[in-house]
């Protein structure tokens, strides 16, 4: 386990998630959407949280923000923000942090924006919720934030309604709102998935600039390994509610330890020779309601053996390289 001592000393991680467990207590049974997730993000760094649908990556993001609704509940683990455990904070204390020190960007910007209010109303409201400033100064901050994310003529655009923006522009507005209080942590949940390639490039450029300039720690949740390859410093791969592998991006992608990571990288079309069958992971993701005991990946894993029926430990195989597998790949993959 990544046992870094928690302290607010310089160089300590801005956000550290330790053994987080978020379960949904449904009538059909307990869904362990997030079950033992640990990672750390430092100031100015980007962590790519990668997984397929249903792997629990979004629920991890919601847990950090304290946005898990019943029947979901954080049942274990710690979310240390500058040494303070968010999982134990009261709703009132969390409200003071959320949108202020910790912000979130959603996949669909219309989840952030109210369709019947003008952009300025919404942005000024966000500023005034956490800062004692005049309305005029709040407007000024809103305008600066819009300019920062590359929106032309921000004064004019402030007076528009969300429907008057294109998809890419709306996402920029959502990012601008997240930036209003210069947060220490931003959790971005698939923010470019719905966007076109050229617009995605623009948003990724803004995200990079932001981390470098303001020192914000960014958690970038995505299913797209190619985006993470270009953007992130570290990567955590999730499967069936657990982090199965993490480490620095180039090490994880060039020399994956876990068979699932290897399979995921292998199924990316550009990693295969043109026209030849893609290397595929057989089978499909297991239902979260009745996960097999032991390693959840073992039914799809080419290396599975009898020992895999025991839960594999999340162990450090190389310095800074953790994996949840008893027989990790030792050698680098041929590109």
């Amino acid at each position: 386990m990544s046992a870094v001592p928690a302290s607010a000393a310089p160089g300590a991680p801005t956000l550290e998630v330790r053994n987080l467990r978020t379960h949904f207590l449904t009538r059909a049974g307990v869904v362990k959407a997030v079950d033992d997730v640990s990672f750390t993000v430092r100031s100015g760094k980007v962590l790519g949280l990668v997984g397929e649908s249903g792997s629990g990556k979004s629920v991890t993001g919601f847990s950090i923000l304290g946005l898990v609704d019943p029947p979901g509940r954080i049942v274990g683990g710690q979310i240390l923000f500058k040494g303070q455990d968010l999982a134990t904070l009261s709703e009132e204390a969390m409200r003071k942090l959320r949108g202020n020190r910790i912000a979130m960007i959603f996949q669909d910007p219309m989840m952030t924006l109210n369709p019947v209010l003008r952009i300025d109303t919404q942005m000024i409201e966000t500023v005034l919720a956490h800062a004692r400033v005049s309305r005029e100064e709040a407007r000024q901050r809103a305008r600066d934030a819009l300019g920062q994310v590359g929106i032309a003529s921000p004064d004019e655009r402030l007076r528009s309604y969300p429907h008057q923006f294109s998809g890419g522009m709306r996402q920029r507005v959502a990012i601008a709102i997240a930036l209003l209080h210069k947060p220490d942590v931003i959790v971005a949940d698939e923010p470019t998935t719905a966007l076109d390639v050229t617009i995605q490039g623009q948003i990724l450029a803004e995200a990079q600039k932001l981390c470098a300039q303001t020192g914000t720690a960014l958690v970038w949740i995505t299913h797209d390994l190619s985006v993470v390859a270009g953007l992130a410093d570290d990567i955590a791969v999730m499967y069936a509610g657990k982090v199965v592998e993490n480490g620095p991006v180039e090490q994880v992608l060039d020399a994956p330890l876990h068979p699932y990571t290897l399979g995921l990288i292998g199924s990316v079309p550009s990693r295969n020779r043109r026209g030849e069958p893609l290397r595929q992971i057989p089978g499909m993701t297991p239902s979260m309601l009745n996960l097999p005991a032991g390693c959840a990946f073992r039914a799809r894993c080419p290396r599975a053996e009898a020992r895999c029926a025991e839960p594999p430990p999340f162990a450090e195989y190389r310095p800074g390289r953790f994996a949840r597998c008893i027989h990790p790949h030792e050698e680098a993959v041929a590109a």
Binding site: S53, G201, A229, P269, N272, M284, T285
Partner: protein, 345 residues
């Protein structure tokens, strides 16, 4: 190149196009409402909003070929796919199917032509009737069109499902009982059940997870070999298109801007838009790269820029680009591009 693809590709050389579009356009308009018609009658100049979804496109697909159609949202690629599949008539131009104009075919012939071209849709949740069982979804069309003998339907449906990689014992289930990848397989089984030779796949893998996407792409390639299928593969994902296609067509705001064999377009892109698009594609090989982003927004197709549609975002634009629409011209064998820069050079 793998040996498995040599055969269909050799067959593709010089054969008759299975489908050919000649100057095809599609316009959608929003008719004036009562007040609009009233003020028009009073002499005020009001115009209907017209969207040129597809604007004068020539395209031909030869037998056995996989043509990838790439573009960003709103570029008209889905509209083009629907016209190719014959489920949407063009406003202008001709859709020629095996040498016959599709719009001029009469009843039985038109039906036969349409059956031979089938479509696979993006959303496996919306494209299957939730109230029908899988056996009915797959079996309805072949039964209606008399493609199976009486009493043979059961076995026929089983074969179709097996071919698409589904267990026939699941055929009494409803679509909601399947995962996304399995639903896409049901869609494929349904399309193949009427024995088409041409499939239009509209973002057929866009909604799927990476590992499932690989399974479905492999299925498409297997079916191509087994059934000698021809594909028009519409996607915004250049990685998928590069992997699958023999030839790539790139669209921007309703027009084809570049068309070339797959290797050629990825090795030597000609049009500035294609180059920008290729530069922006995130690649797993690239580490900690600096993203730049193409300047500007995709313009509204309601009011597209004059001349070359790409000129407001193009770093090389000059006066002629603003005034004159560039024609698709050959820049290398089999490689055509619509850019004025090629004349200047």
């Amino acid at each position: 190149m793998s040996a498995v693809l040599e055969a269909p590709r050799a067959a593709a050389q010089g054969s008759v196009p299975i489908i050919e579009l000649r100057g095809v356009s599609k316009r959608f308009s929003n008719p004036l409402d009562f007040a609009g018609r009233l003020v028009k009658r009073l002499g005020v100049k009001v115009r209907e909003d017209v969207v040129h979804a597809v604007d004068g496109v020539d395209l031909s697909v030869r037998k056995g070929e996989v043509v990838g159609l790439v573009g960003e949202s709103g570029c008209g690629k889905s509209t083009l796919g629907r016209m190719v599949a014959g489920i949407m008539p063009p406003s202008d131009g001709q859709v020629v199917w095996r040498g016959q104009d599709l719009t001029k075919l009469s009843g039985a012939d038109a039906k036969r032509a349409k059956l031979r071209t089938q479509m696979i849709f993006q959303d496996p949740y919306a494209s299957l009737n939730p109230r029908l069982k899988v056996a009915e979804i797959v079996g309805e069309a072949p039964q209606y069109h008399g493609l199976v003998p009486r009493g043979g339907l059961e076995a026929y449906v089983d074969d179709q499902l097996r071919r698409a990689g589904l267990d026939p014992s699941l055929k009494r289930r409803y679509p909601h009982q399947f995962s996304g990848g399995q639903r896409q397989r049901i869609g494929i089984a349904r399309a193949l059940a009427v024995q088409p030779d041409f499939l239009v796949c509209d973002e057929a893998v866009a909604a799927l997870d990476v590992s499932i996407q690989a399974q479905i792409l492999n299925l498409f390639m297997k079916l191509r070999r087994e059934l000698d299928l021809t594909y028009l593969f519409i996607s915004h994902d250049l990685g998928v298109v590069e992997h699958l296609s023999d030839r790539v067509v790139i669209m921007y705001l309703g027009r084809v801007v570049e068309e070339a064999p797959s290797e050629e377009v990825f090795a030597r892109p000609n049009h500035p838009y294609t180059r920008a698009l290729l530069a922006e594609v995130p690649r797993i090989e690239a580490r900690k790269r600096v993203f730049a982003g193409v300047q500007g927004e995709i313009p509204s197709p309601l009011n597209p820029p004059s001349g070359c549609h790409f000129h407001p975002r193009c770093p090389f634009a000059f006066d002629r680009c603003r005034a004159e629409r560039p024609a698709l011209k050959q820049v290398a064998p089999g490689h055509r591009s619509a850019c004025h820069l090629n004349d200047a050079a």
